[in-house]
Amino acid sequence: MPSLLAERTESGLNPRQQSAARVTLVSSHFTRLGRAGRGLLGIAILALVWEYVPRLGLVNNYFLPPLHEVLHAWWGQLRDGELLRNLRASAVRSGIGFGIAIVTAIPIGVAIAWYRPVRDILTPPLEVFRNTAALALLPVFTLILGIGETSKIAIVVYACFFPILLSTITGVATVDPQLLRSAKVLGLSPQATFRKVVFPAAVPTIFTGIRISGAAAILVLIAAELVGATAGLGFLINYNEQNFLIPQMYAAILTTTLLGLAVNYALVILERRFSRWRA
């Protein structure tokens, strides 16, 4: 079986030779198709385990129904529109919160990284907030903003804000000083230097934070909806559980997983578009 050692020490063309000849080395150890096939195999094993562990009585099949029952329930909920209605509620909340976090955290992060005094003043209070878990503040948000949409969106904003803020600060503050020197030699104004040099250089780092936030947005929202809501995937999970609709509950959980996968995949694609110039 090909190991990491065999893979990494394989001799072949170096990257420069590859790019000079405009070719890509074909590894003897793995092919794209082979890897995709193995990935499908992993999923298939998971599905089989889920199907047969309850059937063989290894766990109570009332609390963990076999996969086919869950998929059946999922299909049923999808057809009667229940699933989509709650999925839409969750997607709108997390989308709005995520969006607000992006448009506020990036400018603030830029200001913090660009001006040393702002950084010195804001860093300590931001550290305090950053280390306060978003879910710990859920009661506070509910008290102040009520149990409606506002408190749920607010907690998503809170959870998404800090990863984006921190990655923006890092991205802007760690721009190669040589690039800044060469911009200065060219007589570029500070505004133009920011627009043409600093921001593009920081984009890949900022995107790391955006991706972390994308996952956090869903995570925190589901938790908030579990506690108190009248719609949303978290509400649906909770509702089904309390009414002993166990396969339906698993169907709702599976839907949150799919939502998370979709968001992450979309962000990865977007990130790749913006960082194509990276080696």
């Binding site: 020197r181 250089a201 110039w277």
Partner: protein
């Protein structure tokens, strides 16, 4: 299109903190630097590391102001960076998200005064000059070190500065690429007539490139001697200039100067 540069008693002092006793003190990076660089001249600055070579370049480039003395270009004191001077750094300083062509256009956008199509045309022309016509659409990570430095040189020349300042630009390249780029640079210099100030710690590079070699000493950084180099480099393509007797003699002369401890600590520069 070339300009004369003059450093008169130029000195540069930085505030530092002593690592041993933590006390603040002044660090004299440069003292009494006197140097006149004629319009269209190719001058190389050679010296041990830490002798203030790069500080001289920062002064001429306008990235810093002298603590004492004056630095002027065509009689005017230098107050900041300007499009009459450009710098090529050792690190390639290309924008990694722009292609070779777009990196040159970036410099033209920064300096200003050209339309979009003029920038495109000009960038292409200067890529031709450094022999990278087919690599216009490659990103920096797809180029070798030598190619990246060629792009950086093309970028610096693209807005036709009268002075090109080069800070150990070939320091990170392998020996063969370095020699080839040296020859190309001499060729470009002859064609464009730009004044070039070239910093290096490589004695052979200094002699091969410079019409004059300014030898520096350190602590405080100053110019010890300026040597006129009388080598014929016009035939460099056919003949191995670096292998001649005359070249070896110059090499030995500079080598000896760099080896011996300066007698006069505050060396007075002799200007040829």
């Amino acid at each position: 299109m070339s300009a004369q540069i003059e450093l008169k008693d130029a000195g540069q002092v930085f505030a530092v903190r002593n690592d041993d006793d933590k006390r603040k003190q002044d660090f004299v990076a440069l003292a009494n630097v006197n140097l006149t660089i004629a319009a269209g001249e190719f001058l190389t600055l050679v010296g041990p590391s830490g002798c203030g070579k790069s500080t001289i370049l920062d002064l001429i480039g306008g990235l810093t102001k002298p603590s004492s003395g004056t630095v002027s270009i065509d009689g005017e004191p230098i107050t900041g960076p300007g499009p009459d001077r450009s710098v090529v750094f050792q690190q390639y300083t290309l924008l990694p998200w722009r292609t070779a062509q777009e990196n040159i256009e970036f410099a033209l956008e920064a300096v200003g005064g050209w339309s979009k199509s003029e920038r495109k045309e000009r960038a292409r022309r200067y890529l031709d000059l450094v022999g990278l016509t087919e690599f216009a659409n490659r990103y920096p990570h797809e180029l070798s070190g030598g190619m990246k430095q060629r792009v950086a040189i093309a970028r610096s020349l693209s807005y036709e500065p009268s002075v090109l300042l080069m800070d150990e630009p070939f320091g990170a390249l392998d020996a063969q690429t370095r020699e080839r780029l040296q020859e190309e640079l001499v060729d470009i210099w002859k064609r464009t007539g730009t004044t070039i100030v070239f910093i290096t710690h490589d004695i052979e590079e200094a002699i091969f490139l410079g019409q004059r070699v300014a030898v520096m000493s350190s602590r405080p950084g100053t110019i010890r001697t300026v040597i006129n180099i009388g080598l014929d480099r016009s035939a460099s393509a056919e003949e191995d200039v670096r292998g001649t007797q005359a070249f070896a003699a110059y090499r030995h002369q500079v080598w000896s100067l760099l080896r011996e401890r300066p007698v006069n600590r505050v060396g007075v520069a002799s200007v040829a």
